[in-house]
């Protein structure tokens, strides 16, 4: 146990650990993380097996990296705990007996003689220290008076607050890793989905994309309603950077898209021989619509693609999920005879790629409208570690500002009555900003000397 404490209270170990964690982190950015085995094999050849065995390909989640972090946490905890008592006493504890010899060994010191009586000389020095916002404790004994003056006492503990914050952050990371959950909810407008393991559901009421006047997406907005036990309880707009928080879950606008599997299409049927004929039908792919005309009895849409392209082997594909070149595969029947079969392009109304080489068909089609429902992907995150992270971050930040911008100062003064004079010896120390402290110290004791 003693050896354990000794090892883990050592700052040398801290330095070794900081170096190791740093090197490991560098390695993790040089080797791409979390790719497929095939990709590693292609990239690193025979080394890829070794890399995977050492978990270098998922380094930040590997046992040995987490082990390093655990050692680091232990180191911080033991190291701070073993030093905290002494630092606390330095900041807030009662004055310990000071001896003149000890004070004279200090770097920042002053020595002079003052006029008696002792109490008056002591009051004068204490007054000067108080004027500079020191808190003064006095200890009197026969023929001797000791002053302990301290200011910005919390500064001594700045580094402990930082270290405590780091422990809280590490604990938060652990909690996130063990208990954090996230899942995607892909919802069409009007659709409701249960949030996994949350006990409530989410309905997407509306999804909007806002654009800048110059083009380019400005924002994605999902209007969602939380439903608990079948009852809507709140409706909010979820935007990028503005998640919805509800019962320990956060919902983020993650992705969006259009559901092109079943768009509503509006087709206009025309006859080449009769310019005044135009008949509109609305249908979805796979549906048929009756027209009831002697030349066209019904229309069927066999397929739809939002971004028509002819791929390998002459097969029709969609290049993307954006409606860049929407096309519908349309068939028209005249009784039992097929009068038309071909792709109809929304962007090229005069061009129909006819099937079956039947030449010019007497019919023509215009794809006037194509509407697909939007779907929005919301990411549901439940992260019980996050609050630890914010608390830890606040502690680290506060501790850093204490350590660097709130430098503690301490002045000890011993006044002794000897041969009808009062001998004054003072010494000081500061956590930071030695030069400024030395200047302050010199000014205080120059004044004290002058007033004596």
């Amino acid at each position: 146990m003693r050896r354990f404490v000794k090892l883990f209270s050592s700052v040398r170990l801290a330095i070794v650990l900081i170096i190791l964690v740093t090197l490991a982190s560098v390695l993790g950015t040089l080797i791409p993380q979390g790719r497929s085995a095939a990709e590693y094999a292609a990239r690193y050849g025979s080394l890829s097996g070794l890399f995977q065995a050492l978990q270098l390909t998922r380094l930040y989640r590997s046992g040995w990296f987490l082990g390093l972090l655990l050692l680091f946490a232990l180191n911080i905890a033991v190291c701070s705990a073993t030093r905290l008592g002494a630092k606390w006493r330095r900041a807030f504890g009662p004055a310990e007996a000071a001896d003149a010899q000890g004070l004279m060994a200090s770097r920042v010191k002053a020595r002079f003689r003052a006029a008696p009586p002792l109490a008056t000389a002591g009051d004068r020095v204490a007054g000067l220290l108080r004027a500079r916002r020191y808190r003064v404790t006095r200890t009197a004994s026969a023929g001797k008076l000791e002053l302990l003056a301290r200011k910005r006492r919390l500064g001594w503990l700045g580094s402990d607050v930082v270290h405590l914050g780091l422990l809280v952050i590490l604990a938060g990371g652990l909690a996130s890793g063990l208990a954090g959950r996230r899942s995607d909810l892909a919802l069409r407008e009007g659709e409701t989905a249960e949030v996994p393991r949350a006990g409530f559901s989410l309905r997407l009421d509306k999804f909007d994309t806002e654009y800048y006047p110059q083009g380019g997406v400005k924002d994605w907005k999902s209007t969602v309603t939380v439903i608990e036990n079948g009852v809507p309880v709140l409706t909010r707009v979820v935007e990028v950077n503005h998640p919805l928080a509800h019962r320990g879950f956060l919902f983020y606008q993650s992705r969006y898209g259009r559901d092109w599997s079943a768009p509503r299409l509006e087709l206009e049927v025309r006859k080449r021989a009769d310019a005044s004929f135009a008949r509109a039908v609305t249908l979805r792919p796979g549906e048929r619509a009756e027209v009831g005309d002697p030349d066209v009895s019904r229309v069927v849409v066999r397929a739809f693609v939002p971004d028509f392209v002819i791929g390998e082997g002459g097969r029709v594909q969609s290049r993307s999920q954006e409606p860049r070149n929407p096309a519908a595969l349309v068939e028209a029947w005249k009784g039992e005879e097929r009068a038309f079969s071909g792709w109809v392009f929304a962007g090229y109304p005069d061009f129909a790629q006819a099937h079956g080489g039947q030449g010019q068909s007497p019919l023509a089609f215009v794809l006037k409208r194509y509407e697909a429902g939007q779907y929005s992907v919301l990411e549901a995150a439940h992260d019980p570690g996050a609050n630890f992270i914010w608390l830890g971050s606040a502690l680290v930040t506060a501790g850093l500002f204490l350590a660097f911008y709130w430098p503690s100062r301490e002045v000890r003064v011993v006044l002794e009555e000897a041969q009808g004079r009062v001998e004054v010896i003072a010494a000081g120390r500061a956590a930071k900003g030695r030069e400024a402290f030395e200047a302050e110290f010199a000014r205080i004791f120059d004044d004290a000397r002058r007033l004596s």
Partner: protein
Amino acid sequence: MTEPSLFTAAFALYAAALIAYFAALFARRESWDRAGLGLAAAGLAVHTAALVLRTVSSGHAPFTNMYESLSFLSWAVVVALIVFGRKPRVARLGPYLMLIVVALVALASSPLMPKEAAPLVPALQSYWLWLHVSVTLLGEAFFAVAFVASALFLAAGAEEKRRRLDALAYRAVAVGFPLFTLGGLVFGMVWAYRAWGRYWAWDPKEVWSLITWFVFALYLHTRIVMGWKGKRSAWIAIAGFLAALFTYFGVNYLLAGLHSYA
């Protein structure tokens, strides 16, 4: 005045400050040093106006592309120079810091950097962006001061001068470290949490910020607790600044990740 012409004017003033500083260095004239500082301060004022103008006209914080962030980083380095370089005899950091400023401004002005203020993609529309980038870059500017002081330390001969440079480097780290921690790590995590739902994703840019932070933590601990000073400290501060530079430039061009737009 328009933003580009103000920016060019600031560039000219910085270049003049650089010349004055180097003239002071070689001619050993203190008055030219003060001229350098004055020109740098004038450049800073004009540069500030350029940044404000850009913010007003684009309607968002001036840190959304490389040109804007380089411009802000050079601005921050001038601020750090003025904070630390007021006492000319302290260290003569002026010429070298100004060299960094002029290099950054030249890089920002180069045709490689697109200058248009593009409309912001949704993920960047957050006030956390302001806080995250501005505080981080300000922290890094003080690391630049520590870097210059440490490099000069390694080059310097006189004991008194070395002592001052060593103390100056430490003071710069003491200012930069809390700022970098707050901006780079804390605000970064808050923003990531708001935008992507996770405060930490081990994205290469995040990891490199962490590495930079570890190097400076190493600097502090070896110094305070093991009493390292001088040479070894100086090398650690130099390594820390190089890590910060790599986080800033290298990660974007050499490693891929979520931060690809920033």
